[in-house]
């Protein structure tokens, strides 16, 4: 029996379906698929989980972590502290072991003796000689390396009481079509399971029990959902430049187009994907296609957004529909390319020089990534302006439990105000930028529609209602005012905020996107302290009137967001004219998902401060 290093002082954690497992690996060592296997197995056991990849901007060698929160209450945000670490990276093992909460567990490769300074007396060590086992069991060097990961998953299945059948089914699903790989993987899982069972008392007090919490749910990442949403939304043109963390949006679009967009008769493609030379070209292609009547999109992240500014101004001013996915990462500049933030709100809301404004959508989960991706094309066609879907790395690249993706077969694409040849016949004089309906949205024509009616010259220079160049200030101002009206009209087509009213009190929380993952936990734990704020999840910009009304109905609203400069708060101040004293910021900008603990602590501290100064809201 292997040596079990355990101090008598340890009171090992006893937790069922409520703990955090963190895997510390070396990037490029093949850990991702093993860790994914673990997460998926827990999901299939019906227990809510939220996996988070914390990875470096690197292909091989640097540290990478996979953090899985398991929570029976469905708290899917991050939680601080680690209950069980799988410490596979010698570079970080000191920090990794230190991150474990007292009473927690450390699973490590005991092929090499752990140095004394890494020994804590308040945690339980689970040594497994992974390297030695794999040397003995496998012949090929790559197998010896890769299967170390699978062996620890096998061991975890014994430690944490994972249904072994669920694991073997998953392996069979994962390697369907590559049958040769199934048996060795299952063998590796068995070795791990066997070793843990033989050498330790299994399961631990930290363990899983089958549950029914995930009924009907799926486990998917936001970018996969967004790419699929583009297929369903009728996108035929995608132009892009590879950029983490946006790349997988186009990967997903490509994958599903290959399956779902091939003409049955000819085998030809009902789509075109162009990997452009840079983001300028990517958005230029998108605009050219949008102008010519194809639904087109591009996906990028912060540095790409910076490059696309000039073109966004063109699309706004010349009124060309396009869809842009901004999978936000940490800026400024190159920033932390593989970390997450909500840091591009201001630069997207008013992207480009001059007076501009763009529609932003804020999905909070993969189902919404799908839904907003598809509806972004309708909105964009309807308002003839760019629509930017503001996801982030956290949502885009991590799997998340969500409702299954939903499509209404009765729905039809809304191509907006586009005149056909027959309609043009009826019109005496066509004006591309005439506001005939009084809603700020003019009528467009596609090139080639009619032999002598409906052509116009699209330009980024100042133009009149008939698209003719003008330097007449009054005419210019008229166009700009119509664009303001158009953005007001646009709000009617945007998803409304989601409100939850717990009680009629004067305290509110406002937030967007991935911040949502922390909120149910915040609400529950504040309720235990007698604090019951109402919540508003904003889902689109420009804001609905109901956003302003929410602030009107509350004395104080905590605006919770993941950036340094309180950008959402700034937008609310600018757009809704909300007084500074009505809003308190709660900010998180370290690149990893905001935690409920941070939000709760900030609220409590702030309320204590106000109590002390006597300005607490009633």
């Amino acid at each position: 029996m292997s040596e079990l290093i355990q101090s008598s002082k340890v009171t090992a954690l006893t937790k069922i379906n409520d703990f955090v497992v963190k895997f510390a690996n070396v990037n490029g060592s093949g850990s991702a698929s093993a860790n994914g296997l673990f997460a998926k197995a827990v999901f299939r056991m019906g227990i809510p989980i939220s996996p988070h990849n914390i990875f470096p901007s690197n292909i091989q060698g640097l540290p990478t972590w996979f953090e899985v929160r398991i929570n029976k209450n469905g708290y899917l945000g991050r939680r601080e502290g680690v209950d069980l670490i799988v410490a596979m990276n010698e570079q970080t093992i000191g920090k990794d072991i230190a991150s474990v909460v007292p009473g927690g567990y450390v699973l490590y490769d005991s092929s090499k003796t752990l140095s004394n300074e890494l020994l804590r007396d308040d945690v339980t060590y689970l040594p497994i000689p992974l390297k030695d086992i794999c040397l003995e069991e496998f012949e090929k060097p790559t197998q010896r390396q890769l299967f170390k990961n699978i062996v620890y998953v096998g061991a975890l299945s014994a430690f944490l009481n994972i249904d072994f059948k669920v694991l073997t089914e998953l392996v069979s699903d994962q390697f369907r079509g590559k049958e040769k790989l199934i048996l060795p993987n299952i063998h590796a899982l068995e070795i791990g399971h066997q070793y843990a069972s033989d050498n330790f008392e299994c399961p631990l007090n930290l363990r899983l029990e089958k549950s029914e919490e995930n009924k009907g749910k799926i486990l998917m990442d936001g970018n996969t959902a967004a790419g699929l949403g583009c297929v369903y939304g009728g996108a035929t043109v995608a132009a892009w430049y590879p950029l983490t963390p946006s790349t997988s949006v186009v990967d997903s679009f490509t994958k599903y187009c290959k399956r779902l967009r091939i003409d049955a008769g000819t085998g030809k493609k009902k789509y075109s994907i162009v990997q452009a030379e840079d983001e300028l070209s990517a958005i230029g292609i998108t605009i050219g296609a949008g102008w010519n009547g194809a639904r087109s999109f591009t996906a990028t992240s912060g540095p790409g957004i910076s490059l696309m500014q000039e073109f966004l101004g063109l699309a706004y001013f010349s009124e060309v529909p396009i869809v842009l996915f901004n999978i936000q990462r940490v800026g400024p500049s190159t920033g932390m390319p593989t970390r997450s933030q909500q840091g591009d709100l201001l630069c997207c809301a008013y992207a480009s020089h001059g007076d501009t404004k763009h529609v932003l959508l804020f999905p909070a989960n993969p189902s919404e990534c799908f839904e907003y991706a598809a509806s972004a094309f309708d909105i964009s066609d309807r308002i003839q302006s760019p629509v930017i879907v503001m996801s982030d790395l956290e949502l885009g690249m991590n799997e998340q439990i969500c409702d299954p993706l939903n499509w209404d077969d009765k729905s039809r694409y809304d191509r907006g105000k586009v005149l056909s040849a027959a309609q043009l016949e009826e019109i005496e004089k066509y004006g591309r930028y005439l506001d005939s309906d009084g809603d700020g949205i003019p009528y467009r024509t596609y090139p080639g529609t009619h032999p002598h009616k409906g052509s116009y010259f699209t330009r980024g220079s100042s133009h009149d209602s008939y698209a003719a160049y003008t330097e007449d200030g009054a005419v210019y101002a008229e166009v700009m005012d119509r664009l303001t009206l158009k953005m007001k009209t646009a709000v009617n087509y945007l998803p409304e905020p989601v409100f939850s009213e717990t009680s009629s009190n004067n305290l509110g929380l406002a937030f967007i996107g991935t911040t949502t993952s922390a909120i149910n936990e915040v609400i529950d734990s504040l309720a235990k302290k007698g604090i019951t704020p109402n919540t508003m999840r904003i889902r689109a910009f420009p804001f609905h009137d109901s956003v302003t009304e929410f602030f009107g109905a509350h004395e104080l609203v905590y605006v919770i967001e993941q950036n340094r400069d309180a950008q959402l708060k700034s937008l609310l101040k600018i757009e809704c004219n909300i007084h500074e004293e009505k809003m308190h910021s709660i900010l998180s900008y370290d690149g990893v998902l905001i935690t409920a603990q941070h939000v709760e602590k900030s609220i409590i501290n702030s309320m204590n401060d106000m109590n002390a100064s006597g300005e607490v809201p009633a």
Binding site: I218, L219, M220, L228, V231, Y232, G234, T236, V237, A239, Y256, L260, D263, T266, K269, K270, S272, I273, V274, A276, E277, L280, S281, A282, I283, G284, I285, T286, I287, G288, A289, W291, N292, G293, A294, S296, E310, F311, L314, P404, L405, N406, W407, D408, D409, R412, Y413, T445, Y446, P447, G448, T449, P451, S455, Y456, F457, T458, G460, S461, Y469
Partner: protein, 364 residues
């Protein structure tokens, strides 16, 4: 002088123009019943004598003679004097004056959306050789089926006469600033990057330019024409290599081209051995008159050699420099459906809820 250089038939007497219905030659109608006026654009706002206006006029004549349906053309440009040109021809066609140096990407997107239109991109040397050089290179690589014209005057006209990247080494601006750098030759660049049709011409030489424009429009694939187009205000001195004087004196046609639309083929005959006929994708043809140097435009290396050899002598090689009719365009390479992508609707594009449920199941 120019008449001697180009003794072949002039555009006005081209055999394929129908008999005029009206007495005034300007009011002649073409095969689809349109007059030259139907191909015109708005009144020019360029300087009097600007080479670019001759390009507009050549495009008008080329399109009218070919009986192109104006509304089946999309005109796309960047920013600068050159990029104003699309306003001045084919007002029945949709136009898009985009952002500086980015016409290629906008044209790419437009072409992808609807492969059934003719795409005419008009750019300048600042637009394509400096700020947009990257986009130029990549649209050539991507083989977009279009006619790409660079109105090349070696200067930044709209910002009052700075040197451009096509200004020849040692040439001087009006204010006397000398270019210390080698010029970028857009034609050789296009050949090297894989353009399947590359020509150079001179805005002042319509007899050469018009058939080249027509051939470029009929060519399937990326057709590039570098048109030396003097800037009368800022780059037309005796030292300007892009000025009228130098270009008249030093442009030498490597090949002399006639364009023969498909429907005229039967009635047009050329003496065997004297001319070479190249059939284009749409059934029209170009006839290459043999010149003294026995130039073969199907040979890439030969083309580059000739252009560079003439350049060393201070000469500008013009005419059809290179052609390859067998290259696939982007749509063929990507195997897009026959119908334009912008014509596909719900039924063709949306896989429906049943498929989505199957997909959902793969994430359980």
């Amino acid at each position: 002088m120019q008449a001697e250089k180009f003794p072949h038939k002039t555009a006005v007497t081209m055999s394929y123009i129908n008999k005029p219905k009206f007495k005034h030659p300007q009011m002649q109608t073409n095969d689809i019943g349109l007059t030259r006026r139907d191909y015109e654009g708005t009144l020019t706002t360029l300087c009097g004598g600007c080479g670019h206006d001759s390009i507009s006029s050549a495009i008008i004549q080329a399109a009218a003679e070919m009986s192109l349906e104006p509304h089946r053309v999309a005109k796309i440009s960047g920013i600068g004097c050159s990029s104003k040109i699309p306003s001045y021809f084919l007002s029945k066609a949709h136009g898009f004056n985009s952002v500086h140096g980015r016409m290629p990407s906008v044209a790419t997107g437009a072409n992808i959306a609807n492969k059934e239109l003719y795409y005419v991109g008009v750019s300048g040397d600042g637009d394509s050789a400096s700020i947009g050089l990257g986009q130029f290179c990549h649209i050539v690589r991507r083989r977009i089926n279009m006619l790409y014209i660079v109105a090349n005057n070696g200067t930044y006209g709209l910002t009052k006469g700075q040197l451009s990247a096509t200004a020849d080494l040692g040439s001087k601006t009006k204010s006397g600033e000398e270019s210390h750098f080698d010029n970028i030759d857009m034609a050789t660049l296009a050949i090297e990057l894989g353009a399947s049709f590359v020509a150079r011409s001179f805005s002042g030489d319509k007899k050469q330019l018009i058939p080249l424009l027509q051939a470029g429009l009929s060519h399937k694939g990326f057709a590039f024409i570098d048109v030396i187009s003097p800037c009368v205000t800022f780059n037309n001195t005796d030292f300007s290599t892009h000025g009228y004087k130098n270009t008249w004196e030093n442009h030498i046609a490597l090949s002399e081209v006639d364009f023969v639309p498909m429907r005229e083929e039967i009635t047009t005959s050329y003496a065997a051995g004297k001319d070479k006929e190249i059939t284009l994708h749409d059934g029209s043809a170009i006839h290459l008159h043999k010149t003294s140097n026995d130039y073969d435009p199907s040979d890439k290396e030969n083309a580059l050699h000739h252009i560079n050899a003439y350049k060393k002598q201070g000469k500008i090689a013009t005419g059809l420099l290179y052609i390859n009719q067998s290259m696939s365009d982007l749509h063929e390479l990507q195997e897009t459906v026959d119908r334009p992508l912008n014509s596909l609707g719900n039924q063709e594009l949306c896989p429906g809820s049943e498929t989505l449920n199957d997909i959902n199941n793969t994430f359980r």
